[in-house]
Symmetry: C2
Subunit: 237 residues, 2 copies
Amino acid sequence: MCEWDERLSVIEALMLETTNENSPPTNSHADILSAAARCFKENGFSATSIDDVAHSLGATKGRIYHHFRSKTDLFFAVYRRGMEINFQATLPQSKYEGDTLTRLARMGLTHAVTMMAYQDFQRVLLQGVTMHQTGSTTAAQRVTLDELIEIRNQYEALFRTAIEAVAKEQKLVLTNPSVVSKSFLAVLNSSVFWYTPRVENDKQEQINLARELVTFALNGFGATLSADADLFLGELK
Amino acid sequence: MCEWDERLSVIEALMLETTNENSPPTNSHADILSAAARCFKENGFSATSIDDVAHSLGATKGRIYHHFRSKTDLFFAVYRRGMEINFQATLPQSKYEGDTLTRLARMGLTHAVTMMAYQDFQRVLLQGVTMHQTGSTTAAQRVTLDELIEIRNQYEALFRTAIEAVAKEQKLVLTNPSVVSKSFLAVLNSSVFWYTPRVENDKQEQINLARELVTFALNGFGATLSADADLFLGELK
DNA sequence: TTGACAACCTACTCGGTAGTATGTTTTTTG
DNA sequence: CAAAAAACATACTACCGAGTAGGTTGTCAA
């Protein structure tokens, strides 16, 4: 039994993960998450067996069930980790103190690059969304899933807020802010469906694509990529 | 055994489906497809059992295995049907003889509405795409799946062609036409992730949403919804 | 040195499910 | 109307995979 439940806000949990060094409940835990993410990405949740995950680690079931109560719990943990990755990347940009347009662009660029750099986890996030729309196991787990989706909604709200700030500043009329932010993220997220890295982690290619996606997404509601935002591309390494 | 393989082009197969009345190999066949689409949508491919589908029809396995060789075959048939629906809706608009912008807008609006009206099948199409990115059963079935994805690519090409025609006519520079068309469709397709009809088949609501999505998608690469295209909204019933 | 506990592995159970083999009923056809 | 074929249903098999129970190995603290 190694459960270290904490009922923190998303952001607090994130910061704890980032800064604190008490975090690793052994890194075997993290290894399992990565392996599981890879398996779930490749075969989907229900087509992935615990034995698959164990085998990809050169281990057996026992190792996994020692850390996670059930297959569903493992999936949720991967989902949570995926959201942590996203928050960790984007949250700092959402606090950028400058014009609203640059702030949004920085968020979008960061998010888009993260999408491509952590495909395994991002695909799991997608599966979580569709799983939420459907019937997903027991009532107890449904509560957990609702909580996870709520985290995702908070993440999306980050973008919606930033978009509305831009719209206000630039006097743009958003007939339907909800649809606009959904569309905005749909564009940035679309890479999971068609992007696979040519070589192992081609950072520059990802940055170029991110720029094009963000340009499209900004144009979508009448904004354009600022020069400042373009400078930010250099910072993305 | 009732297989009526025909190696026709997508369009020919579609037209045959549309116009010809020899089509129904009994409509029990179509009933199974609908039920399967509903089940696959609700639980995903591998979490759906053949018994589930049969039960939702008030029947048993026998009925399904009489029409389909395997569960995978059934899935592929649903996928194919989904693509037929899309082609049947959009293909006529792609032949619209008018300015290129209105043509693209008509295609987009039709596609967006179809997405919302046939959610079951559209979700299966999504699953097919992700299934294609991963390992999907035997080599024999992989051939079939490749073929199905090829049909999907043809469908996307319809939009890409229309987009490039607009760009050419309006002297817009598309830095990366492929990414633009991917983004364009990503916006129109996004509704599967968040739209569920309030009341049974609220046509007007779907039309309104479609209009907003198409507006966003057009703006994405520098175009705008034409007045002619807006008139077309009336034709969508 | 010895307990105690974490971190696994092994070997099992057992429910669910794809697929099949074989009936039974209805429809079509000659 | 008879025979054949289509359109199902029933009753299996065989296997896979989630979860468990209990054993084994290492580590660390007193």
